[in-house]
């Protein structure tokens, strides 16, 4: 599904290159559920951002569903991204001024769905995540676990092939975390969504089908479960 070849990411600090990712190569197939682990500063989030096309590598080649991403223009990348990728964050990142239903609806707005279609899809999603009763509440009125559910619902509404999650359970207690992980597993197994998550927790990492360990911007180990 995607392939990274000799990817480097660095920042120039007073003439010196400060490497975040250093000549990293990685292949990921459709249907995989990958957990990326590693100590702070090992480049986990940067890798995820590059995969999600939120950030560009300083060097290297990147392919996504048959497209050479490093050759694409911003607009094309954005189109590709819209079609295939959903993002979940540790801090949920919901829009505070919008209700639950409106938050979930937002991605559809940017994909030119008709209003009626959008309403139907949002209703569907609310139903699936059992949050119909909360649809008119604002994010501040929800618990962390509920907010993350909304975040996932928003990531999934446009039916992405790839779900990227940056420490999705980092702000949640263990029970809420488990529920989210179960949900991820189900999505991966039943709906065939490819998932890449960054996590600090060994336990959560084991929900995946492969664990990649990063150290100092390089793949230290890759373990198939």
């Amino acid at each position: 599904m995607l392939s990274l070849q000799h990817i480097s990411k660095y920042y120039q600090v007073s003439g010196l290159k400060n490497f975040v990712l250093n000549d990293l190569s990685l292949e990921i197939d459709e249907g995989e559920f990958i957990s990326i682990m590693g100590p702070s500063g090992s480049g986990k989030s940067s890798l995820l951002n590059i995969i999600g096309m939120l950030d560009e590598p300083s060097e290297g080649y990147q392919y996504f569903v048959g497209n050479a991403v490093h050759q694409l223009k911003e607009k094309q990348r954005s189109a590709l991204y819209k079609q295939y990728i959903g993002f979940v964050f540790q801090a949920y990142h919901l829009i505070d001024e919008l209700t639950v239903a409106e938050n979930i609806e937002t991605p559809l707005i940017y994909q030119d769905f008709k209003s009626a279609e959008r309403k139907a899809m949002v209703a569907d999603m609310l139903d699936r995540f059992n949050i119909v009763g909360k649809k008119d509440l604002f994010p501040a009125q929800l618990s962390g676990g509920q907010q993350q559910l909304v975040g996932i619902a928003r990531a999934l509404i446009a039916k992405p092939k790839l779900l990227l999650a940056d420490e999705p359970t980092g702000n949640l207690n263990s029970k809420q975390g488990e529920e989210i992980m179960e949900l991820f597993r189900k999505l991966n197994k039943e709906d065939g969504v490819t998932i890449i998550q960054v996590t600090h927790s060994e336990k959560n990492a084991e929900y995946g089908s492969r664990i990649i360990n990063l150290l100092d911007g390089k793949v230290e180990s890759s373990k198939q479960l």
Binding site: D55, K82, F87, A91, E102, E105, P107
Partner: protein, 793 residues
């Protein structure tokens, strides 16, 4: 999508109520102020444009050159216009207007119609003043025909039809027939009158032969040129015309005329030759610039406050980008929001305008606009302006916001603080530069006004009551009667008083070389008591005196300016010299110290005074300050018995003199008000910025306090940044305002020097205002408990 944006916009506005309030109020005040000035400027520019033939109407004006001086007058002698019409086929028609004040009586109703005018029968043909009743071609033809405005007619006839009725005009009770009723003249007409009398009454009845007096000036003449006529070409033919008709007389009198044509549409604003009502193009420009400045300040606020808040909106931008929004979509969202804000401001502006319009009309001294909704395009202009501001002011914040990188903003801390900072600072500096410049301008305008009102004018004007008998034969008896009243200290008769009009006389005065030099001198006819009454000082010779029987016919006083004009190096040299003036000959008996008989805008001109004991219109009465009302009542009593045919009118000389500064005072007031508005809007912006920058620095303040910073130290730190901006603004504003106000002061012959304290005062004021605005936020932030601010991290 638009619905979604709209929702977000409104919820955002509601969530940050204080911010929205500041932003919207600032903007509405700015637009309202700008709108008012726009209406004012529009009104000033609209003068005389309602005449459908305005493009072809020209005012004929005359430069009169004597061996001594050249006078640029706005008037003509009576024969000019009719003869020009006869000689030049390109002149289609002409109108002469000559203003005056007339006693009008009908039964017991009597009024002194101060705003009356003689006008030629072509008046309604050349101009577009609307005649409601009567025939526009003949209404002003026959002698003793009168056309009233509706308002004037009501005074005499109520709601009855005035057509064909007779009224008695002048003290001689000459019967005149009402031949027309016209609409009140529009406010934006330079020509204004409540009553028109046919010009033939003057030229064929009151003053026969006037049509042949080429040296008697007093008519304002307008020429209607045929379409396609080049006024310059016509002007070029005038020297030959004058030579042809009146060349000999010109040569013998040594007074030479040059004619010019002033387009009617520019008379009000551009002509320096005066007129019934005159405006100032400089003031129009000044107000135009002020309006643009105020709007600019309001827009700057808008941009500043919006970009300052970008930190808060950054997260939303990041999320939207992550879920698939493109930059252009986000930019249009933010521009949309700013348009929504401006539409709310538009509604508020309408509200403000409706509420404040009467006040503004009062301030401007005329009905600039009857109502905001009286012109639908006003509302349209406001709407378009608001939306345009929303678009323009929204672009920069939109571009800044929409270009945030999601990775940066979503990864925890995001400081945009420094990015727009330089721009924000520059904008604050420009706002405060404008505000400080306006403060300096206001102080200078007021200092000048104060200077004019308090300057020693060289004559006494306090407790001086002026009564106008309009030359009634009973005036002398009346004067005798009131001079013995207890509250009356002294009385004097004269043709003129300072601040009012006076005649100019063809004069021959012996100059230093011993020749009789021709000049046009301002002339006051006075009685023996006048010089004393007004406490005018003599610098040489003596004042008029009853001891010299010859004073009534053969004595003249000059002022210092006149003495200088005729070449004398000291006033003493002029005493005993010969004069000839209006058929009288005699000697100069004394020289008066210069006194301001016109406003301080004009240099004191050469003035002559002569004795005339009969039929002087004005009686000046010096009253004792106690019980002035009682004294006036007693005077009125005497008036009613001795001059029963005329209405009793009086005014105080000091007020009458200050009336000359009415337009300057209005200018000052308007300027002051708009300066206050500009400062208010700037402060609103500063308040908003200060509160946001303090908010952003909450964590820093917390850390500093933990490390031991004191409250005053922190207040100082937070205020310093803004104060530096204000101080920089001061140094930009000071020279700019000096330059413009220096120019403005050039219109005044007697003016203040722009001294350093004005700038110091303005600077201190600006710093204090800014400090007061910032300090609340700073003190609150400094007092807050650091535990709270650090916990939120």
């Amino acid at each position: 999508m638009i619905k979604n944006y709209f929702k977000i916009a409104l919820r955002n506005l509601w969530k940050h109520k204080v911010f929205s309030f500041i932003n919207i109020t600032g903007l509405s005040i700015g637009i309202t102020a700008c709108f008012f000035i726009f209406m004012y400027v529009g009104f000033e520019l609209s003068y005389d444009k309602f005449h459908s033939k305005a493009d072809r109407i020209y005012r004929l004006v005359t430069d009169i050159k004597t061996p001594t001086e050249t006078m640029n007058t706005g008037i003509t002698a009576w024969p000019f216009a009719p003869n020009i019409k006869n000689d030049f086929p390109e002149v289609e028609s002409f109108v002469r207007i000559s203003g005056g004040s007339f006693l009008v009586r009908r039964g017991d109703v009597k009024f002194q119609e101060e705003k009356s005018a003689f006008a030629d029968s072509t008046f309604f043909k050349v101009f577009d003043f609307k005649l409601l009743k009567g025939d526009p071609r003949t209404a002003l033809s026959a002698p003793a025909s009168i056309v009233f405005t509706e308002t004037a007619a009501k005074k005499y006839f109520g709601n009855a039809n005035p057509m064909g009725q007779t009224v008695l005009i002048t003290g001689d009770a000459i019967p005149a027939i009402v031949t027309g009723l016209m609409k009140d003249m529009p406010e934006n007409s330079q020509i204004k009158a409540d009553m028109l009398i046919s010009m033939s009454s003057l030229t064929q009845k009151f003053n026969k032969g006037l049509d042949n007096q080429w040296g008697n000036f007093g008519a304002t003449s307008y020429l209607l040129l045929k379409p396609g006529t080049n006024p310059k070409a016509l002007e070029a033919k005038f020297p030959g015309f004058i030579e042809n008709h009146n060349g000999k007389e010109r040569k013998s009198s040594q007074m030479f005329y040059t004619f010019f044509l002033e387009p009617l549409k520019s008379v009000y604003l551009y002509s320096k030759r005066g007129g019934q009502d005159s405006g100032s193009i400089t003031n129009v420009y000044i107000f135009g610039i002020v309006a643009i400045f105020i709007l600019l300040i309001a827009c700057i606020n808008f941009v500043n406050l919006t970009t300052a808040r970008s930190v808060e909106r950054a997260k939303e931008v990041g999320i939207r980008k992550v879920v698939g929004a493109e930059k252009s979509q986000l930019a249009s969202q933010f521009i949309g929001e700013s348009v929504v804000l401006c539409l709310i401001a538009f509604v508020l502006t309408i509200l403000f305008s409706v509420l404040l319009l009467p006040l503004f009309n009062q301030l401007a001294g005329k009905t600039i606009s009857a109502g905001v909704f009286s012109n639908w395009y006003y509302v349209l202009i406001l709407l378009v302006t608001s939306v345009a501001i929303g678009l323009i002011a929204g672009i920069y914040p939109a571009l800044v916001l929409s270009s945030f990188k999601p990775v940066m903003v979503l990864k925890g801390r995001f400081s945009s603080g420094n990015k727009g900072n330089a721009l924000r600072k520059a904008l604050v500096i420009s706002q405060f530069s404008i505000s400080i410049a306006l403060i300096i301008g206001t102080i200078i305008v007021y200092t000048q006004m104060n200077f004019m009102q308090n300057r020693d004018l060289g004559f006494s004007k306090d407790q001086m009551l002026i009564l106008d008998t309009n030359g009634d034969p009973a005036a002398d008896a009346f004067k005798q009667a009131i001079s013995i009243l207890p509250g009356v200290k002294s009385t004097a008769n004269s043709s003129s008083v300072p601040g009012g009009g006076n005649s100019g006389a063809y004069s021959e005065i012996e100059n230093k070389k011993g020749d009789l030099q021709i000049a046009n001198l301002d002339l006051y006819f006075v009685d023996y008591d006048y010089v004393n009454q007004f406490k005018i000082k003599m610098v040489a010779g003596r004042a008029f005196s009853r001891e010299f029987g010859t004073d009534t016919a053969q004595a003249m006083l000059l002022n210092e300016a006149a003495v200088k004009m005729f070449g004398y190096s000291s006033p003493q040299q002029a005493v005993g010299r010969r004069f000839k003036q209006w058929g009288r000959e005699g000697k100069i008996v004394g020289v008066m110290k210069d006194f301001h008989f016109r406003s301080l805008q004009e240099v004191i001109k050469p003035l002559s005074m002569r004795i005339e004991l009969k039929q002087l219109g004005l009686i000046s009465v010096k009253v004792s300050p106690q019980n002035i009302t009682g004294t006036i009542a007693a005077i009125e009593n005497k008036w009613k018995t001795l001059i029963p045919t005329r209405p009793f009118n009086y005014y105080f000389l000091d007020e009458f003199f200050d009336r000359q500064y009415r337009s300057e005072q209005r200018f000052g007031k308007l300027f002051f008000n708009f300066a206050v508005l500009a400062i208010l809007i700037s402060c609103l912006g500063l308040l908003g910025l200060a509160s946001y920058s303090t908010l952003q620095r909450t964590r820093e303040i917390g850390i500093r306090k933990v490390l031991g910073a004191t409250v005053p130290g922190i207040v100082n730190m937070l205020s310093k940044d803004f104060l530096i901006l204000v101080i920089i603004s001061f140094f930009i504003a000071a020279p700019v305002s000096w330059f413009f106000m220096h120019k403005w002061l050039q219109d005044f012959a007697y003016r203040i020097n722009i001294s350093w304290w004005i700038f110091v005062l303005a600077g201190i004021l600006a710093v204090l205002i800014a400090l007061a605005t910032i300090s609340y936020q700073a003190i609150r932030a400094a007092m807050s408990n650091p535990v709270k601010s650090l916990r939120s991290e």
